[in-house]
C-alpha cells in the first residue's frame, strides 16, 4: 500500500512503487486533469506540484511521492491568480496541455512573483502546446504576476 497526500486528502493505493505517479493520479484516483502527453518528461502535460515544486508526474515513481504534499490542477483553488488570469486572457484552445501549463506557471509565480520575460520563457519552455497558445500564456503570467496589470 502506498499512501499519498493529494490536494489535502490522503489516499491509500495498492500499487507497485515504481509505477509512474501520473497513472495513479489519473487512472486510479481519476483526478483526470493531470494529462498524459509523452511519457518521457518532454511535454509537461502531466505537471503537478510535489512539495510546492513543479514536477513531471510521468517521471515520478509513485513510491518517491510518499510522505510529500502533492497538488494537482483540481487542488489549485479556482480563485488562484493563475487560473483567473488564464480565464481573463482566454488562454486555452483544445485545452489538453493547459492543466500542466497552469501548474508550471503557478510554481513560477510562487518562487518569483514578478518574473522577467526571460525567466517566464526559461521556466515554461518545457511545456508544449500544439495549439500555439504561447503568446497568451505569457500574457496570462504577466497578468497574474502583476495583480491584474499587464
Amino acid at each position: 500500500m502506498i499512501s499519498l497526500a493529494i490536494n489535502g486528502k490522503t489516499y491509500e493505493v495498492d500499487v507497485a512503487s515504481d509505477v509512474p505517479l501520473l497513472w495513479v493520479i489519473r487512472e486510479r484516483l481519476q483526478l483526470t486533469g493531470t494529462k498524459f502527453g509523452c511519457g518521457i518528461g518532454m511535454c509537461g502535460s502531466c505537471t503537478v506540484h510535489i512539495d510546492g515544486k513543479a514536477e513531471r508526474s510521468c517521471q515520478t515513481p509513485v513510491g518517491s511521492a510518499q510522505g510529500k504534499k502533492i497538488t494537482t490542477i483540481e487542488g489549485l483553488p479556482e480563485n488562484h491568480p493563475v487560473k483567473q488570469a488564464w480565464i481573463k486572457e482566454q488562454v486555452p484552445q483544445c485545452g489538453y496541455c493547459q492543466p500542466g501549463q497552469i501548474m508550471q506557471a503557478a510554481s513560477l509565480l510562487a518562487e518569483d512573483p514578478h518574473p522577467s520575460e526571460a525567466k517566464i520563457i526559461q521556466h515554461m519552455n518545457g511545456n508544449l502546446c500544439r495549439c500555439g497558445t504561447y503568446p497568451k500564456i505569457k500574457s496570462a503570467i504577466r497578468l497574474a504576476s502583476e495583480g491584474g496589470e499587464k
Binding site: 518521457i40 482566454q90 484552445q93 483544445c94 485545452g95 504561447y134 497568451k136
Partner: protein, 721 residues
Amino acid sequence: MKPDLTRRQFLKVTASGLAIAVAATSTGFRLLSAAELEKSGSAFRPNVWLEVLPDNTVIVTVSKSEMGQGVYTSLPMIVADELDADWKNIRMQVAPASDAYKDPEWGSQATGGSSSIRHMFEPLRKAGAAAREMLLMAAAREWEVAVKECAVDQGKVRHIRSNRMLTYGQLTKEAANLEVPQNPMLKKESQFRYVGKEIPRLDMHAKVNGVAQFGIDAFVPGMLYAAIARPPAYGADLVSYKKDAAQAVAGVHAVVPIHSGMAVCADTIEAAWKGRDALKPDWQNAKYPQLSTESLTKEFTGKFETKGIMARNDGDVGKAFASGSQKIESVYLLPYLSHATMEPMNCTVQVRGDGCDIWAPTQNQSGVLALAVQITGLKPEQIHVHTTFLGGGFGRRFERDFVEEALLLSLSTGKPVKLVWKREEDIQNDFYRPMNATRIQASLDADGNVTAWSHKIICPSIFARVFPQMMKNGIDNAAVEGVENMEYEVPNVAVEYVRFDSAVPVGFWRSVGSSHNAFTVESFVDELAVAAKKDPLEFRIGLLKNHPRARRVLEVAAEKAGWSKPLTRGQARGIAYHFSFGSYVAHVAEVSVDKNSGTINVHKATCAVDCGPTINPAIVTAQIMSGLTMGLSAALKEKIEIANGGIKSENFSDYKLLRMNEAPDVDVHIIKSNEKLGGIGEPGLPPIAPAVANAVFKATGARVRQLPMKPETVMAALRTA
C-alpha cells in the same frame, strides 16, 4: 443515439418546453416543431438544435467536435443571437452521432475543412429566428395584442405600450403549439447582440480547472486497459513473441492478436504496458526494407521528368517560355509531418449484447458509427457515440483506426476496453501530411513582367484512400489546392500533378494541400520579385490587379508591420499571403539569422485576415495565432524521419515541436468584410513558412527551399548564397 432516440428525446423535451428542429431538404432547410415532427413520420430525420425550457434555460445542441477552434461557443452564439436569448441562460450539449446531425452540406457528421460556421450559420440562424417569432406570437396571444406591439429583449418578450413582460420560459408551452414559420425574419447585422462580439468561451472554466472530459478521461466500471505492440516497419510480420511472459505479468488478462499488432489487455494501464514490453515481439520481413528519408527524397525529386496530369493549363506556357527574356527555375522539398496532437490517440468502448457505447475524441461521428455497425453487427440505434473534448485534432481524428482497435478488443474480450496509445505509437502510426517535391519554372519579359508559370507537383494522394469518389480525372484536389486556383495574374499558367504514393500513409493535416503549396508559390513569387528587381510587396500587388481581397490583406499586414520602416541591424521582414478555406490571410515575419549556427529567430509576426463576417473576433484572432504557430513549428522544426522501412521518429525528443522560446508575439488584424463567410481553423497556417523563408532571404541572401528550415538546412543555403 439514432434517429428514433433523437425523436424520443425531442418529444420528451417538447412536453415541457419549445424545441425547434431543422431538416435539410433538397430545396433548403425545413423548420419543425414537435407536433409537426409527429405528423411527418419516421422517414423524416430532423435534428434538434435548440430547446427553450420553462426555467428559461436555452439548450443548444452542437454537432461539431470541439478541438480548440471554439465551436462550443461560436455555434451557440449564432442561435442565441437570433433567438435574442440571455447569454447566461445558454447551455450547450454535445450531439450524439446520428443521421439527424449530419452536416447539411456534406451529408455526414464530421468536423473539418474549416467549415463548421460556414455550414451551420444558416440553419442555426433560422432555428433561432423561428423560435423567436413563435415566442413573440405566443406572448401576443397571451396578451391579446398584435405581434407588432411586442418586442424581444434578452430572453423576454415585452409589450411595448404597457411594458408587460413574460420570460421565454413562461411562454414555451404556448409557443410549442404554434406553427413553425418557414421563413423567419433574420436579423440585420446591426441588430446582432452576440455575433461579432468577443464573447468568452463556454469551455474555459472546465479547461482551466482540469474538469473538461477528453477521450482519455473516460472510465467504465470493469474495463480493461489495452496496449498494442506494433510493427516497426510497414508490412512486417510478427514471427514470434513471448505470450507466456506477457500473461505472467500481474494484472494481465489476455493477449489478443489484432490486425495492427498484438494487444495486451490488463486491469491497469501499467500492467498492460508492462505486458506489452514482456511480449518482446520479433518482427521480420519489412515490406520495403530500403525505405528511408534518403530513398524517398531521391524518388520524389526524380519524378520531375515523369508526365503527370494537368490540373490547370491557361494560355500556352511553352510558347511563352520560348519568347521570355529571363527564365527562373526552383525546386522545393517538404517532408512528411505528424499531427502530434497533445492528447495521444485513444478510445474507450463497451460492446454489450444489446448495445455499444463509444467514448471517442473524434472528428468523424458518422464514420465511427458506421464502423461500429460494421464491426459489432448492432443497429445504429443501439450504438451511442459519446464525442468528448478533443486534445487537438488537426485532421488526425478524422481517421478511425484507434476506434476500430478499441471496438475489436472490447468485442473479443467481452469487456469494456480503454485503449491509450503511447506517444511513440502516435508519432509512428500516423496518416502523415504528405511529402512534396515541387519544381516551378517561370519566364519574365524585359520589363520584369511574368509571362509564364509552370508548376509541377510530386505528391502522394490523400483522397485516393479517404474519398476516392472525389478524385477528379486522376487529380487529388488536396495535392493542387492553392496552386490550381492561384490568383496571381499570369497569362500562361500550367499546373501538373504527378501522383506518387509511397508506403507511408497520408491524411488530412491542418490546411492540407495549402500547407505545402503556399510555401512553394509564395517562396517562388518572392524569387520572381528579386529577379524583376521589385519590392516583394509591390510585385505581388502588381500581379493581383483583379483580386482586391488579396491585395487588401497584403497591404494591411504590410502597413501594420511597418513594411517600409527600417529594422534593427540583422533583422529583416518577409511577406506572404494565401487564400484557403474561403479566407485570405497575409503574414509579415520579422526574423534574424545567426550566420554561425544557422538558427532562425522569428521576433514578431503581423497578420491580416479577411474571413468575411466574424462570429467571435477573439476566437478568430486565437485561431490565426494558433495556425501561424503550428505553421511555424512545421517551418522550422518538424520532419518525420524514415529508416529501414518504417518511421524512425519516436517522440518529442526527435520529433520536435515549437516551444515558447521560439514562438513570436503575434499581432492579428481582422479586416472588416461583408464577403462570403470564410473558414478560420486552418487559413492562418499556410503563409507563415514562406513569410519566414522570404525574410531569411532578405536578411542573408540565402534562399531556403526545403522545410524544415533547421539550422543545418539554413547553413547549407548560406553556403550557396
